[in-house]
């Protein structure tokens, strides 16, 4: 769905709002960033190209990486078993550069819905999915999810029956989590690649569900 902004001058060609950067008045914290970066280069601790390369690495990490992992888990029973056993190893073996990420996959079933939060800060499987959405870092999400997950889910438009057990995972320490959402019904004949298109970022955090494709010929 496109943005619902009225002032299109504030949107970049990609349709995203510009963020204050080159054209805005220089802030104290921007000065600090420039100073820290230049000092680290001058002291021989890092280089400009190493910093640029780290930014590229992080930019390449997006929810579509996780979507491919989920789609393969739906299609490939052996991979599914490996993922549930050691999600870091299975993800690396699939070719994703996840660095030192220690990942646990938690799987939704007909009876169980999983949901991820970090109440103490905003831990997120960023080395697989990229940076977290802003709401994930918000006081409201961090505070409420462990006490009233159903009420939080309802705000995301997800209403689950009482008999579905919700498992909230608070990422308090060294592990990061990815939810394996339910495979939508009616997708038996879809390719793994097409299935990945049904896996939303929110479905891998547990605040959404995978997309059910419209029936063919409908």
């Amino acid at each position: 769905m496109p943005h619902d902004h009225h002032d299109h001058d504030t949107l970049s060609p990609s349709g995203h709002p510009y963020r204050a950067d080159d054209d805005a008045p220089l802030s104290y914290w921007q000065v600090m960033e420039i100073a820290v970066r230049e000092l680290l280069v001058e002291k021989g601790i890092t280089t400009a190209s190493e910093i640029a390369s780290q930014i590229d690495t992080m930019d390449a990490r997006t929810p579509s990486n996780g979507a491919q992992v989920v789609a393969r888990a739906w299609c490939d029973p052996e991979f599914h078993a490996a993922l549930m056993d050691d999600a870091s190893e299975a993800t690396r073996a699939m070719g994703f550069d996840i660095g030192a990420l220690k990942l646990i996959a938690v799987e939704n079933t007909g009876d169980v819905h999983n949901m991820i939060v970090c109440t103490l800060c905003s831990c997120y499987p960023r080395n697989l999915l990229g940076l977290p959405p802003d709401w994930y870092k918000s006081r409201a999400y961090r505070s409420r999810t462990v006490r009233e997950p159903r009420s939080v889910l309802a705000e995301f438009g997800v209403i689950l029956p009482d008999k579905t057990k919700i498992r909230v995972h608070d990422s308090t320490a060294d592990m990061r989590y990815i939810v394996i959402p339910n495979r939508p019904e009616g997708t038996e004949n879809m390719s793994q690649n097409d299935l990945a298109g049904l896996v939303t970022r929110d479905s891998m955090i547990g605040t959404g569900l995978s997309i059910t494709p419209p029936p063919i010929g409908a």
Binding site: E148, H169, A173
Partner: protein, 89 residues
Amino acid sequence: MQKVRVKPLMPPGHVRTPAYLRGKVGVIERSLGVFPNPEDLAYGVTASALPLHRVRFTMADVWGANAENPDDTLDAEIYEHWLEPADAT
């Protein structure tokens, strides 16, 4: 599964045991191996290696009668030095 209670301590400083779980009883869902103690890492001192466990609580365990749905569960990673057997007083 082993029943454990999170110690009801309230120290100042950097700890990774959320306050809302302190004093609550859960079961060890799985053990994750040993990890450097974040309470040491935070201050740049040599970190001891501590076993880390995933502990599962029911919402009833954590929130009592105020639970939104008592059978829903909450899992968190808790370092072993924050846990004691649940039968301890």
